[in-house]
């Protein structure tokens, strides 16, 4: 009996140490995209501020590959103790319909969604295509246009599929490890065009290293006002918009609520920090800043648009209906 008491006491002490003082050791952060890309930049901007509020370091590393499925699967297999954070974009929303992986955000709880991203179609500064219409017409005339991509499910992949579907054209595609390498290849003239997130492309557009042909949105974006909205050239895009990417931090669903609260509050504080504001402005992205149920709803909406788009375009192996993903409602 006394032994049992001691054991219980010890268990209590251990449990207290485990939950009471979170975080009591450094936290691992796994970024699903490579260095220099938008996901990487957003993570590396918010983490140093968030960890000031946590009192422990979040050690970031890039775990790239398979449009983020490697990092997602990896974190899903770590203990649900809040010591492994997934820094993920919208990609897992398509894992099930592309057959890439069975592990998506259903297994995760959003800690915080930091930023949203809008797609932009860019060409190199010496490109023969001066407008979006010219690019599309060249593709429609049967000319081979090579587009950069980041693998099934990435923003470039979905955006390219959307363009192909709307105009009934077919692009040749080249796969890279991230949006950064896509832009590098574009500047070197190894691909003709690429649809990437504005966050990765903004500085290159500002400096004139690449030309922005169209924003994949129904209106122009303030930070790059010179780039026309795609609907200015083609009204046909309207039913698919708004559509874009998002960047968030996630932990496993089974993570204790106290731990989740600590993380959420640290990220929320970091999000409101003027330093992060400054970063968001520099990058040219759209600040999101949602958590909890709102974040889940946002993710579901994004999934429904992208999954059905991909499925209708023949780019998905499985129907979204198989996984209970509802078709987006016409607005």
């Amino acid at each position: 009996m006394r032994k049992l008491g001691v054991a219980l006491l010890m268990a209590g002490v251990l449990a207290g140490a485990a939950f009471g003082a979170y975080p009591e050791k450094n936290i691992q952060g796994y970024i699903m995209w490579g260095a220099g890309g938008a996901m990487d930049n957003v993570s590396r901007a918010i983490v140093p501020i968030a960890q000031e509020h946590l009192g422990k370091t979040i050690i970031l590393q890039n775990r790239t590959g398979a449009t983020g499925a490697i990092a997602t699967t990896f974190v899903a297999n770590q203990p649900a103790d809040g010591y492994s954070i997934l820094f993920g974009a919208e990609n897992p929303n398509l894992y099930k319909v592309t057959g890439l992986s069975q592990i998506d955000y259903d297994q995760f709880e959003p800690v915080f969604l930091m930023m949203a991203n809008v797609g932009v179609v860019i060409v190199s500064k010496d490109s023969p295509y001066a407008s979006y219409r010219e690019l599309i017409e060249a593709a429609a005339s049967g000319k081979t246009i090579t587009m950069g991509s980041t693998g099934p499910g990435g923003l470039p992949y979905v955006a390219t599929t959307m363009i192909e579907k709307i105009h009934g054209v077919k692009f040749n595609k080249m796969q890279f490890d991230g949006e950064g390498p896509c832009i590098t290849a574009l500047m070197g003239g190894h691909i003709d065009a690429v649809a990437v997130g504005l966050l990765a492309a903004a500085n290159f557009i500002h400096s004139g290293s690449v030309k922005g042909l169209a924003m994949i949105s129904s209106e122009r974006i303030e930070s790059v006002a010179s780039v026309p909205a795609v609907t200015e050239a083609y009204e046909e895009y309207r039913p698919y918009l708004p559509w874009g990417a998002f960047f968030g931090a996630f932990v496993r669903k089974e993570t204790p609520a106290e731990v989740l609260d600590v993380l959420r509050s640290a990220f929320a504080k970091a999000f409101q920090d003027p330093r992060f504001d400054e970063f968001a402005k520099t990058m040219g992205g759209v600040k999101l800043g949602i958590t909890g149920e709102d974040a889940k709803k946002y993710i579901k909406q994004n999934q429904s648009v992208a999954a059905w788009l991909l499925y209708d375009a023949g780019g998905a192996k499985f129907s979204p209906a198989d996984f209970g993903i509802e078709r987006p409602q016409a607005k």
């Binding site: 260095a35 901007a45 699967t73 693998g151 796969q175």
Partner: protein
């Protein structure tokens, strides 16, 4: 111009920056020397606590660590045959036999001197030719990266020990292991046997620590009790004649380093290996036959990996594209400090460019002083009995592996590779080719497929590209030459045999 000079002088006029550069170099040398703690890791750990500093101080420290860390990796390669980083693999091949002859001091002294020289070549290239080199590096297509990887694979002939069959076998195992995990472009699982831990693939750094660190330690235990060679430490700094003798090779290899470093995604490791191979093929009368302690075999890789430092900054500062893993981390740091790394960097913050040039220059001077001062204490390490030093190596290997991503599984991998490496060595297989295969496998795989996609998966246009694009043609011809130069016919003709 006058303004640029002013920017250049900023670190010289600040005690704090000066000091931080020296501290960075010192820390870099020692951290880099520990198996498993690479310069990339040192930089990423340090950067996280420089976020609250002002930018100048943070950059000073990072530049110091970068220069010191690349150098540190070579020290253990020479002394213990355990490269601290992939960039030092080739150095160990020649350096370790030298240490066994009691010439460790001389080897490190030469290594330090040519390193500093190469580091300045890189800095010079960065300051005078950055835009030109950056634009040239952009022209490298996936096909060219594929050719570079093929060129790297040919290195197996150089670092594979005597028996080509054994070298190729070890290299092929390495390439095969690098394929384990999710396919990078389609996400299909390859060789994972449903095991979740295999899905993320096998990190080549983990494998390297095992194959070089632990397997070397295990091999050395067989020599326990034997007396270590007495080190001659009279003449550490090479004479002018020696330096001048190696000058043409130093210039060639450091320029090679600058170019390879400037290519996005390739850094000092590939540069050093290619330079070693290049030296081995072209130096007609090495100080000793290659593989037994040729000084040329230290000069070439060491100058290449130091030249690659300046090279890696070129695309980063002019285009905002990281040249290697360390510059990728620095780009992240610049964002935190509210800057826009990218094509606007030079326009909006021109002082940054010259300040980095200046920090790197000071770091190179610091490397000269700190490097030469530490030769004697370093050389003493080798005289420590094997039964004491090797357990320390194993412990450091475990810590280093764990520190990469705090993963216990990685430690098992590392020990597994250590044991495999031990048996490979026992049966006369070199471990170098296996690591080479692990490093180059993904580069071969991804770039071959990209090149194929660029040719719309048509075999003829794909092959045509090798002949019509000038860079590809040059690389293709180089590879043909590399193969021809191995034939006995050619070697007899050139008087190499």
């Amino acid at each position: 111009m006058e303004q640029n000079l002013q920017y250049f002088l900023i670190p010289f006029l600040s005690w704090e920056m000066m000091m931080l550069i020296w501290v960075g170099v010192f820390a870099g040398i020692w951290v880099g020397a520990i198996p498993g703690l690479s310069v990339t890791m040192a930089a990423s750990l340090l950067i996280s606590f420089t976020f609250s500093w002002d930018l100048n101080s943070a950059l000073a420290l990072i530049c110091g660590v970068f220069v010191g860390g690349v150098y540190g990796g070579s020290i253990t390669a020479i002394l213990l045959n355990i490269p601290g980083a992939p960039a030092a693999i080739a150095t160990g091949i020649e350096g370790y036999p030298l240490a066994q002859r009691g010439e460790a001091g001389k080897a490190i002294g030469l290594c330090t001197t040519v390193s500093v020289f190469a580091s300045f070549v890189g800095i010079l290239a960065l300051s005078v030719a950055a835009p030109v080199i950056a634009n040239f590096s952009l022209k490298f297509s996936p096909r060219d990266f594929f050719l570079l990887a093929v060129m790297g694979i040919l290195l197996i002939g150089s670092i594979g020990g005597g028996d080509p069959i054994k070298g190729i076998t070890a290299g092929a195992i390495g390439v095969l292991l690098s394929m384990v995990g999710m396919d990078p472009s389609t996400g299909e699982l390859r060789y994972t046997f449903g095991n979740i831990y295999l899905m993320a693939g096998i990190s080549f750094v983990t494998a390297m620590i095992g194959l070089f660190g632990v397997s070397e330690a295990l091999t050395q235990f067989r020599n326990a009790g034997k007396k270590s060679p007495k080190q001659n430490l009279d003449r550490i700094i090479p004479s002018w004649t020696t330096f001048l003798k190696y000058l043409p090779l130093s210039i060639r290899s450091s320029l090679l380093g600058v170019f390879i470093g400037a290519l996005p995604g390739t850094g000092g490791d590939v540069a050093a290996l290619l330079a070693y191979d290049q030296a081995k093929r072209t130096v007609r009368h090495p100080s000793r036959p290659f593989g037994t302690g040729a000084y040329e075999g230290i000069v070439a890789p060491e100058t290449a990996n130091k030249g690659a430092i300046g090279g890696a900054f070129i695309p980063m500062l002019t285009l905002g594209i990281p040249g290697d893993a360390v510059t990728a981390i620095i780009i992240g740091a610049l964002y935190i400090h509210g800057l826009k790394p990218g094509p606007m960097l030079m326009i909006e913050t021109p002082h940054l460019f010259w300040m980095i040039v200046s920090c790197l220059s000071i770091a190179s001077v610091a490397l000269m002083v700190l490097g030469l001062v530490s030769v004697k204490p370093f050389a003493k390490i080798i005289e420590i009995p094997k039964e004491i030093i090797m357990p320390v190596v194993i412990i450091l290997s475990v810590i280093g592996t764990y520190a990469i991503q705090n993963s216990v599984v990685d430690i098992f991998y590392m020990i597994g590779f250590g044991i495999i490496g031990y048996f490979l060595r026992l049966y006369g297989y070199a471990t170098g080719p296996m690591v080479l295969g692990l490093i180059l496998g993904p580069m071969l795989d991804a770039n071959y497929r990209r090149a194929m996609q660029g040719a719309e998966n048509q075999i003829l246009p794909f092959l045509e590209g090798f002949l019509t694009n000038p860079i590809s043609l040059f690389l293709t011809l180089s590879i043909v030459f590399l193969i021809v130069s191995q034939t006995s016919f050619y070697r007899r003709w050139r008087g190499l045999e």
